[in-house]
Symmetry: C2
Subunit: 123 residues, 2 copies
């Protein structure tokens, strides 16, 4: 699993298939919304404890890889100010079968929100 | 829901967010694999009964839209010869929340494989 943090706008990397056995590629963009619990935002600021975040991502990947057979996973998280309508998160998962790719992607994000030290500042 | 059929290589359309309330965008690429049940392929040929396929997609969308609150969905299916490593299917779903986007995307593909008259010719 590749994990990147960036303070720039997320640029979706060119897709390079892991092998000729990849039959499914799922991509997810998490985008900052204008309305957050009734408040109208212009953006959100994200901070991360990067060293710890990488350790947590590796741990989550190890667990999910036992449940879902995937070929590759990439995560890019933007840090700092992210305006409404721009992505704070990009995830790409390649797998032989779509069930594994979709399942891994969804659970990875759930687990990330729960366990990975990345937080938003709305002030 | 937008449905397109193409006989050319699928070009992923530029992402235009439906609104400032879209918080999740899920994309899926279904790619032709080299190995299909033990046979080594160079590609697959897809055919569709397009008029009927559009009707079925609309019906599936109507059902899924009751279950998942989404903002937009796009499907592109390639028809004719698709070499190994190239995409036969592209799906993009935008929604306020990731659960709806991921859920809709996964079920749409499951339902498509079951009910939409698109078939592959492997010879």
């Amino acid at each position: 699993m590749e994990v990147h943090f960036t303070r720039e706008r997320i640029v979706v990397p060119e897709l390079a298939l892991e092998s000729r056995e990849v039959g499914a590629c799922v991509e997810f963009l998490g985008i900052v919304r204008e309305d957050e619990g009734g408040r109208t935002l212009t953006g959100l600021s994200y901070e991360a404890y990067e060293v710890m975040a990488r350790t947590e991502f590796a741990r989550i990947h190890a667990e999910l890889a036992e449940k879902f057979s995937i070929a590759a996973a990439t995560v890019i998280h933007r840090i700092g100010w992210v305006p409404v309508g721009e992505a704070s998160l990009f995830v790409r998962v390649q797998a032989k079968h779509r069930g594994a790719a979709i399942g891994y992607c969804g659970e990875l994000i759930d687990r990330m929100k729960q366990d990975v030290p990345i937080w938003k500042v709305t002030e």
